[in-house]
């Protein structure tokens, strides 16, 4: 091996300045990509993808080229023009969410609207909202929670329902433990993941006290006819295998002024959403006038997701 290297080196040194059509940078890049392919076992990883930096460190031009590359990849994969947005946070906006426990009937419309909107894997289905059925006798006691309930009709006598999703914490433990900085809290309070920077270590899943993060154990199974083409780089764009994903308050919708998909679908109007910094917003009215609590407040995660009793 050593011999081979020694003998081949002078040859290569002679060739390099000549016109073989491969400059040093390209050559190294291709080499790195080949090594990466061998190491990760991902045959589809392109050189650009492997060399891409953390989303927060990209220049404007780099972002444009990344988006162009992704859109091309999605076009090839799904045969559809998937638009990958990069809308930044609106200034003066911090999103808050409130869920009315006295109204939720546990119908799971939100769970499935979320899957449809956010391009989750369908088989097995990755769900960002988990609806817990709880005993009225016990109150909010997670020891008595059941997420697989399936009666003919809800609500069931003696039970109430508590949907749990990402609480968009002000002090997110998931962000704290990420060894590579692939997840962070944006200025509008949304905790996002750069799926191209995530290494799939799942530390964040272990750290999250709400079970709000989900891992793509396999290649996400997303039928082309079910792809939502309005996406965001940090939100619902189709994910690769081996990365963690989570609720982003539908960043692709809310940064355009729309309500999240779960708010739009809820037949009981239990879900309230708005700008915490806007005194006139619905969310502020809830916080100022209703009985409100945060889930697992004692952990000091400081959620921007609140539960309240509307009655």
């Amino acid at each position: 091996m050593t011999d081979g290297k020694l003998t081949s080196l002078p040859d290569h040194a002679d060739e390099a300045p000549g016109g073989c059509g491969l400059d040093r940078r390209d050559f190294l890049g291709a080499g790195v990509a080949a090594v990466a392919t061998a190491l990760t076992g991902c045959g589809t990883l392109s050189k650009e993808e492997f060399l891409q930096h953390n989303f927060r460190e990209l220049s404007k031009e780099e972002v444009l080229s990344v988006i162009a590359r992704l859109e091309k990849e999605y076009k090839a994969k799904y045969g559809k023009d998937v638009k990958v947005g990069t809308t930044p946070p609106m200034p003066g906006v911090i999103f808050g969410y409130a869920l009315d426990l006295s109204r939720c009937i546990g119908c799971r419309r939100c769970v499935h609207a979320c899957v449809k909107e956010n391009n989750q894997s369908r088989t097995p289905e990755v769900q960002w909202i988990r609806v817990l059925e709880l005993d009225k006798e016990e109150g909010v006691n997670l020891q008595h929670a059941e997420q697989y309930y399936n009666p003919d009709e809800v609500p069931r006598e003696g039970h109430f329902y508590m949907p749990v999703q990402c609480q968009q914490c002000k002090k997110p433990p998931c962000v704290k433990v990420c060894p590579v900085g692939a997840t962070w809290r944006e200025k509008d309070g949304i905790v996002v993941v750069d799926y191209n920077w995530c290494i799939g270590c799942r530390y964040c899943m272990a750290a999250c006290p709400y079970g709000a993060r989900h891992f793509n154990w396999g290649e996400p199974n997303l039928p082309p006819d079910q792809v939502n083409t309005e996406t965001h780089y940090l939100g619902n764009r189709p994910r690769p295998k081996g990365v963690v994903e989570k609720c982003t308050f539908c960043v692709q919708r809310t940064r355009k002024g729309l309500y999240p998909a779960c708010v739009e679908i809820c037949p009981t109007g239990s879900r309230k959403f708005g700008n915490l910094l806007d005194k006139e917003s619905e969310i502020r009215y809830v916080l100022e006038n209703k009985r409100v609590f945060k889930l697992k407040e004692e952990l000091n995660t400081q959620p921007n997701f609140f539960y309240f009793y509307g009655v």
Partner: protein, 181 residues
């Protein structure tokens, strides 16, 4: 006390704002109720409105007595039936309207005023968008629903629904080659 004053002043301002909003021409062709609150149509049974189609004061005489109805037998009154009967809400003289306790006539598209007479707390919450569903834009135009879009006024309890499928239990996830393990 002061807080309450401020809040009621705030509500007055809000109402004034809504009233001012009502003067502007509505952008969409959707029905706009009084006070500028956007609402969809009341959910009438097909072919039942206008009520004056039958209740024109000639074919049918006003009968205020509590009785087994020959028509409208599908209506099940489960809304305080002991103390309530049709004409407490429906107007006997102007059948295409409802009326408040004061006798003031109310359009079907503004039935929330009628509900708000008794359910003042819910009405207040509905006004600010806390009770009931809002869709549209969190920082702009919103779509409201009327009370009767979710609550059948004759039997107002929110109807039970069939839940959508539960998540797959981990042990039931199928192993696929190249797919999930």
């Amino acid at each position: 006390m002061t807080a309450r004053l401020i809040r009621s002043a705030g509500l007055a301002l809000l109402l004034a704002g809504l009233a001012a909003g009502a003067k502007e021409p509505p952008k969409k062709a959707e029905p706009v109720a009084q006070e500028g609150i956007q609402v969809p149509k009341p959910p009438f049974t097909e072919g039942i409105f206008p009520c004056t189609g039958c209740h024109d004061g000639k074919q049918l005489k006003v009968d205020t007595k509590r009785r087994e109805l020959a028509m409208h037998s599908e209506i099940e009154l489960k809304h305080g039936p002991e103390s309530r009967w049709c004409l407490d809400c429906h107007d006997a003289n102007s059948r295409d309207n409802l009326h408040l306790a004061s006798g003031e006539k109310v359009e079907f598209t503004a039935s929330y005023k009628l509900c708000g007479q008794c359910h003042g707390d819910k009405f207040r919450d509905w006004r600010v968008g806390i009770h009931g569903k809002r869709t549209g834009s969190w920082n702009g135009q919103k779509q409201y629903l009327l009370c009767v879009n979710c609550h059948n006024p004759h039997s107002p309890r929110f109807a039970a629904l069939k839940p959508m499928p539960p998540p797959t239990r981990p042990e039931d996830i199928q192993t696929k080659k190249g797919g999930a393990r």
